[in-house]
Structure formats: C-alpha cells, structure tokens
C-alpha cells in the first residue's frame, strides 16, 4: 500500500493510568491493527495522557508517579509515548481540550517540518521527505477508549454536550470492547452519537484481558502478585516508592470528581 494515500493518525488515550497496565497498552495495539486494516489510515503516534491530580478520583496517586510508571512501561514501544501536558495543568482539563492541545501540537510540528523542507535543497531530501512534503495530508487525531468510556457520556454532569459533539465530530473515537458487550447498541440509542457513527470506530477485543487498575491496586495492597499483568519495570518502581498502600487508596475518599463539581455548579439547560 502506498503510504502517501493514507491519512496519518494519532491516537490519544486519556485516563488515570493508576497504574498503567498491559491492557492499556493492548488498546493501542488493537486500535492500530484495526485502523491499518481499513486501508485508510497510517497510525503515526500513540499518546498516553495521564489525568491531573486535580481530577479527585479516589485512590489517585500523584501524577509524577503515574507518569513515571507509564514512561517505564512504554520504554520499549517505538510509537507510543507518554505526554505529561495534561497532568501538569494546575486544574483538571476537559478531555476535548486535551485533544485540541495535541492536535494543535501535531499541526505545529507539521508546519515546522514543512518550513524545514522548503528550505532544503531538493538533493538533500530523501524519498520519504519528498513524499510527505508533496502530499502533506493533515493528520487526524482520535480518542482511544474502552466501551465503558462511551457509556460515561450518559452520566449526568460528567460531560458537556457540546464537548461530546466536538469529540465525535471533529476528532473521532476508537472504542475497544470485549466480546459480549455491544457498544453499537449504545450508539444507536444516542441521537448525537448515531449522527457521527462514521467517526466512531468499534474494535472488538477477542482475547479477553481485563486487567483493571483497581484490581491491580487491590492485589498490591494485599501483597499479591501482579507479575505478567503490568510490566516488571512498573512493579519494581511501585515497590521501590511504596506507592500503593491502604492509605493511598483512601485519597480523595468522599470527594466529588472535579468534572462533576464544575458542571453541577453551572446551570445546564440540557439536563432537565
């Protein structure tokens, strides 16, 4: 397949990554395989974007650690990386803003690359350079998530309607689900989602691998093994810094999630 006819695509996964697990990383692999098989896309990058501490979720350990663990886990990946931008913001950032940020960054990079190319003498350009310069197709950026994520759109006050619309219209979703669950049905039940279903890619995970970070934390607190569920380097890091304890699990106990705090304060005409 000629690379230049494919649309370059960036996958962004937002979440707690508390801690990152093999399952998180599988989502990227599955998404990439699926998108490549459509023949329309060339996945050029995967970004793990850990949420900031301000999110206020129960048991959320410091972003510094969560980012460090994700970096360790992704050390051997040649296309997925961790981006700390979201976690470094002072307050919690809406998902759509994270997508906008990374999209703008990718455009900026493309622009500077094109500038650089323009100034290169033709003889200095490699074939690859020439191809990407002549056919600099704008990249697309999509949100990578699990099927349960899709369902959170329904949770009152968690999302702003206009944000959901922007996410599915302007960006797009790549949604991985287990055999047995049916996100297509959920999309069907939502007027908004059905309108943009062409921009929602459903990928079925046949090899069940539901390694929830919550269960990982439970296991760690109880001194049980999590080997082969998360990378060895992350296990060592957790042990070294004694990150997950009964205490850490109590953090933010009883607090409302930041998005819920923000949105219930505002009057939302759509939520009657």
């Amino acid at each position: 397949v000629r690379m230049k006819s494919r649309i370059p695509l960036i996958l962004v996964a937002c979440g707690s990554f508390n801690p990152i697990t093999n399952m998180h990383m599988r989502l990227f692999e599955l998404a990439r395989d699926h998108l490549h098989q459509t023949g329309q896309y060339q996945v050029i990058e995967g970004i793990v974007s850990p949420v900031s501490d301000d999110y206020g979720k129960k048991g959320l350990v410091s972003a510094r650690h969560r980012t460090a663990m994700a970096k360790l886990a992704l050390e051997t990946s040649d296309w997925i990386r961790v981006d700390p931008w979201e976690s470094e913001q002072e307050t919690w950032t809406e998902t759509v803003k994270v997508l906008r940020h990374h999209y703008n960054e990718s455009l900026r990079l493309l622009q500077s690359k094109n500038e650089f190319m323009k100034n290169k003498r033709p003889i200095e350009r490699s074939t690859e350079d020439s191809l990407s310069y002549q056919h600099s197709v704008l990249p697309e950026l999509k949100l990578l998530c699990g099927a349960d994520f899709l369902q959170t759109f329904k949770t009152p006050n968690l999302w702003k309607e206009e944000h959901i619309k922007e996410i599915v219209e302007k960006f797009g979703l790549v949604c991985i689900s287990r055999a047995g669950s049916d996100p297509a049905q959920y999309i069907n039940e939502s007027d908004l989602l059905i309108k943009y279903q062409h921009n929602i890619f459903l990928v079925k995970e046949w090899i069940q691998n539901e390694i929830s970070a919550t269960q990982i934390r439970y296991a760690l607190c109880r001194g049980l093994s999590v080997k082969y569920l998360i990378p060895d380097s992350v296990i060592s890091y957790i042990a070294q810094h004694n990150i997950y304890t009964e205490e850490s699990e109590q953090k933010n106990e009883g607090d409302l999630l930041q998005p819920l705090k923000l949105h219930s304060a505002a009057v939302n005409p759509l939520n009657n």
Binding site: N22, M25, T76, N209, Q215, L220, G223, L229, A239
Partner: protein, 281 residues
Amino acid sequence: MEDPDKTEVVLLACGSFNPITNMHLRLFELARDHLHETGKYKVIKGIISPVGDAYKKKGLINANHRVTMAKLATKDSDWVEVDDWESSQSEWMETLKVLRYHHQKLLSPDPTSSLQNAIPLTKPGRKRKQEPNRHDPVKKKKQSPNIKSVPQVKLLCGSDILESFGIPNLWKSEDITEIVENHGLVCISRVGNSVQKFIYESDILWRHKNNIHLVEEWITNDISSTKIRRALRRGQSIRYLVPDIVRAYIEKHNLYSSESEDRNAGVVLAPLQKHASDSKY
C-alpha cells in the same frame, strides 16, 4: 523465618505452551499466592513441562522452539523454571508419569538434582516492601521419614484441564485417582466457572477434594495460545500478551503460520490413540 509445619510444594504445569503466554505465567503467581495465604504451604518451585511432539496436537510446533520460548519467558524468574524431560521423550508421556518423575527427583538427595537449584534467593533490589519475609531462601532438608519434609508436586492447571478428565479415553481413571490422591491439583479458574459442579459430579474428585485447590482468577485473562496463533496468522499484534522476548523470538523464526497450524491435521491425539486400544475404564 522458617516454618517447619508448612508443607513444601512444587507446582508442575504440563501443556503444549504453543506458545507460552502471560496467562500461563500468571497461573503460577496466582497458585503461589493462594497456597501461601492458606498458611499451610510454601511453594518452593514452579516447573513448566512442555509436552513432547508425539502428542500430535493440531498446530503443535517443534518442542525445541516451545521449550526455548518458555525458557526465555522465565529467564528472569527466581522460582519458575522449564524442564525438558517430558518433551525429549520419543513417545507421548502420561501426565501422571511426569508428576512421578518430578516427585522422584525431589526424593533423591542427588547433588545434581533440581532441588539444589530450587533455593529461591531473592535477587537484590527485587524485595517487595509490602510483604517482608514471604519468599525466604529454603534450607535444604535432610532425608526424613516425615511426610511433611518431602515436597509435594502438585499439578497446576486451568479449569479446562480438570474438566477434560471427563473426555472419554483422554485420561485413565486410575491415573486421575493417583494424581488427586498422591499429588494434588491446583486449579485456576475464572469467576462463574463450573469447576465446583464438575468436582461434585465426580466420585473420585469428590473423595479427594481436599487435595484439589481451587483458585479464582478475578482478573479475567483469557490469553489462550490458540488466539495468539490466530492473531499472528492475521498479522495482528500480540504485544503485551506474551513476554516481549517471546514475541521477538516468534518473529525472528517466523514460527506460526497457516502451514504450522495444519500440522497433525486429521491425526488422532496420542492419549486417545493409546487409550482407545486399552479397553478398561
């Protein structure tokens, strides 16, 4: 902090390991945690014993590769190792025979025996702060008539193996009896499984149910070798499902394809062939 009242256990996993996956490796971890939590056992070693090529299962690739991959996967483990005795036999070997072999090995105070190498020293920097003293070095005990001082070799398996006891001609019933009576099973299964019902419906298993340890796997992890091979045939990624070093090995040697999957197609599985000729149940 040694406890003389604890029974020492060696976990033995038999299977195709075609290829070995993270799920296989998890079985050991789950079994060890479970047995330790009972307070009655101390798991001193884990053994992976890949089946020989004579098993004739469809899609089974050369034992050399399967053993190598398992060794690569356990390279950094301080307690799980690979044994190729079973795979180097020219004929298929009943599971009971493999259990007996490893039990024998533990009984003989042979200086070259595997018990010497079973001392699970924790490597520097690998101690887990959350649970001190859990996996202490084991002092090799002198030969003693006390049953407790001889390590038990238990068969580690998933619920599919246990339930395969019901497949006609696959197992000899006297073998099943000896396995659960003299050795024991540690069976890992998913939440909502039918293993307990299976045990209830079998007189042999019910009689020895104290020697069958059921471990529930809460973290659903269905990484079957069959699915791995399928993904490979379709050019799909298997990253994070098998150890990276195994993935690299598979890629380098191009081990799995439609051709390899067709191996032994139409051939009767060795145990079925063997037992069909015996008429007793």
